[in-house]
Amino acid sequence: MSEKLIRWEPVKELKGIYYLDSTADTASSFELVFSDAIDENKQLQVKFSSRVKGFRSTYETFRERSLLDFYKKYDKSVYQDWTFFKLANSEYLAWLSDQSQGESEKWNLTHYLFTTMEFILDIVHNEEPVVQWLF
């Protein structure tokens, strides 16, 4: 099955590309705070109430290939001016399956992909996060 990028709109009034302000990974939760590129007081929190199964953070410069692939493969209405996505049948999920000797297949994992101004975040978990505005 081929990889599929899905635009994700967890709350209303999301607009454009966001900055990633902070990432906090602990034994009991995983929390991200984003801010609006124009109005930094407009902050958004994405919080998983348990430790995520895996996550990866990479400088945007080093994810050129994936970003170019999205531009080639999808209509602008999917990727343009947007930060929050899910990625079905992804390479990362396949890697986790391989690394867990197939165990991850039992977990109904979702791959969340957040393409921010500076960093690209990949998060894999079997729970939906709570997403809320902080202002």
Partner: protein, 138 residues
């Protein structure tokens, strides 16, 4: 073997315990901060600070690294990975992925692949510089 990764011991500070848990990973204005606690004595905590953040890092639950542990055990014929936490990886698949993903940009930087193979998770870090590291006192 041309594409085999090679794991070597990394001793970021003297007096390390054998195994650690990853208590927290915080990435923000102060850079990337990692706090570990000893698997035998959780009061023995260490803090790593990469003050300028790093090029890439990933944490993976231990359950999802069974294949890696299996391969390492077979390749090195030792159970050292159950008794050590800190490693550097040469000829690293993570660095190869970063090279491909960046269309070669990563090849121009002196990147190193550090691994914290903790009891609960593994943390892979790609960085161009050495971190600050110290023991936390209560």
């Amino acid at each position: 073997m041309k594409n085999s990764e090679y794991w070597e011991n990394w001793d970021p500070i003297e007096g390390l315990e054998a195994k650690y848990y990853i208590d927290s990973i915080n990435d923000g204005v102060n850079g990337l901060e990692i706090i570990l606690s000893g698997a035998k004595d959780n009061a023995k905590r260490i803090k790593f600070i990469f003050s300028n953040s790093v090029e890439s890092y990933k944490r993976t639950d231990e359950t999802y690294r069974q294949e890696l542990l299996f391969i390492l055990q077979r390749q090195y014929q030792t159970d050292i990975f159950a008794h050590r936490t800190f490693f550097k990886v040469k000829n690293s698949p993570y660095l190869r992925w970063l090279s491909e993903e960046s269309e070669g940009i990563a090849d121009d930087r002196p990147l190193q692949h550090l691994v914290i193979l903790a009891a609960d998770s593994s943390l892979d870090i790609i960085s161009t510089y050495e971190q600050e590291v110290y023991f936390l006192k209560d």
